[in-house]
């Protein structure tokens, strides 16, 4: 089927949300851990974490200030810290359940059965069950004026990854730690590997990399 901007505008709101959220392709599945500094821990599933740069190591995250993520956002602003924890197939339903609108005094950790963990000086909780996770310091916020969303820019501080997932060239094998990907609003997947390819050069077809 073909669709136009007018077709998208005419869709019922929830239908359009499913449809447009599917257009970008697979999305990362991460749990963002925060604290309000008064003993209340928060956990929120986020599908908008994106790589921003390796040197310095920066990660971006898009947030809507008006939805459930507002506790996450206010905690990040209050403390300057958050953790990013890759979701894996061992707790994908629990990760999804963090998107329910729990009250401030209810910890999503307790509500969904995940365990907080603390590493280094970061006051925000990590997810013990995650096999790839790191703490992030908020560096800047930018507003997307077109729809009021925010881009949070964060510096990667300290982290932990399963030894067996690390390849000799620095690539991390996300299949080996069963990292989950999201489609649309509520589709969950693990990856099925096609392969890694050599650095592309003109007029030379890429070859498969072993790792």
């Amino acid at each position: 089927m073909q669709f136009s901007k007018d077709d998208l505008g005419a869709m019922p709101s929830r239908y359009r949300a499913h449809f447009v959220n599917s257009l970008s392709g697979y999305k990362s599945a991460n749990l963002v851990g925060t604290t309000d500094g008064k003993g209340n821990h928060n956990l929120a599933i986020v599908s908008s974490v994106v790589h921003l740069g390796a040197h310095p190591p920066l990660v971006a995250m898009i947030m809507r200030p008006d939805v459930v993520e507002r506790h996450t956002l206010s905690n990040i602003r209050a403390t300057g810290w958050y953790t990013i924890n890759q979701v894996n197939s061992g707790f994908w339903q629990a990760a999804h359940q963090t998107s329910a609108k729990y009250a401030v005094h209810e910890s999503e950790f307790d509500a969904v059965g995940l365990e907080p963990q603390f590493i280094g000086e970061c006051p925000a909780p990590f997810v013990s069950q995650s096999l790839l996770k790191y703490s992030v310091k908020l560096v800047a916020e930018q507003v997307i004026e077109q729809n009021g969303t925010l881009i949070l820019i964060g510096a990667i501080e300290q982290g932990e990854v399963s030894d067996n997932a690390l390849c000799s060239d620095g690539h991390i094998d996300l299949n080996s730690i069963d990292t989950v990907a999201i489609t649309g609003l509520d589709g969950y997947h693990v990856g099925s590997r096609l392969g890694r390819l050599s650095y592309a050069q003109p007029h030379v077809w890429p070859s498969a990399l072993d790792d």
Copy 2:
């Protein structure tokens, strides 16, 4: 293993690129089609396309102005248009190969064996082989001052998706069209479905959705 900011800083450049690019999780695999308006078509694989909002339908893309994507960027600035085409398992190697540094006069379409397609008023080429694609009009550019990357904000204009991929609630089944996801710099995967989950509500465990 644990890693600190200092450990990341001490990694050899290419090792660090592989490592940090793996931290965000699965990334979308899209080919971005552009034209310079003088008959030269360009195609570039991009792993940074992210959903920005459904109403209005907006999509963001992070670009580094100093790398191979510069032809893509200058074409987008010149014409105001680009196309986003989901990569599928039928042409993932060809998609990867578009990242080679071809000269301006060489079309990546010819070089990698993909076919241009034109839909509506968009002057930029679509990828005929892609089963989910849409044209985008550049709305704004924002600079990330921390590392000089750009966020392009685009309005979704017109597109095409396989009929069989569309679910009754608007969700698009990316498994059915073999959409590809990227890990790190060069890892390619298709999705293996865990399931869809119902809208999360406090104190109610999510149930599986059929589609």
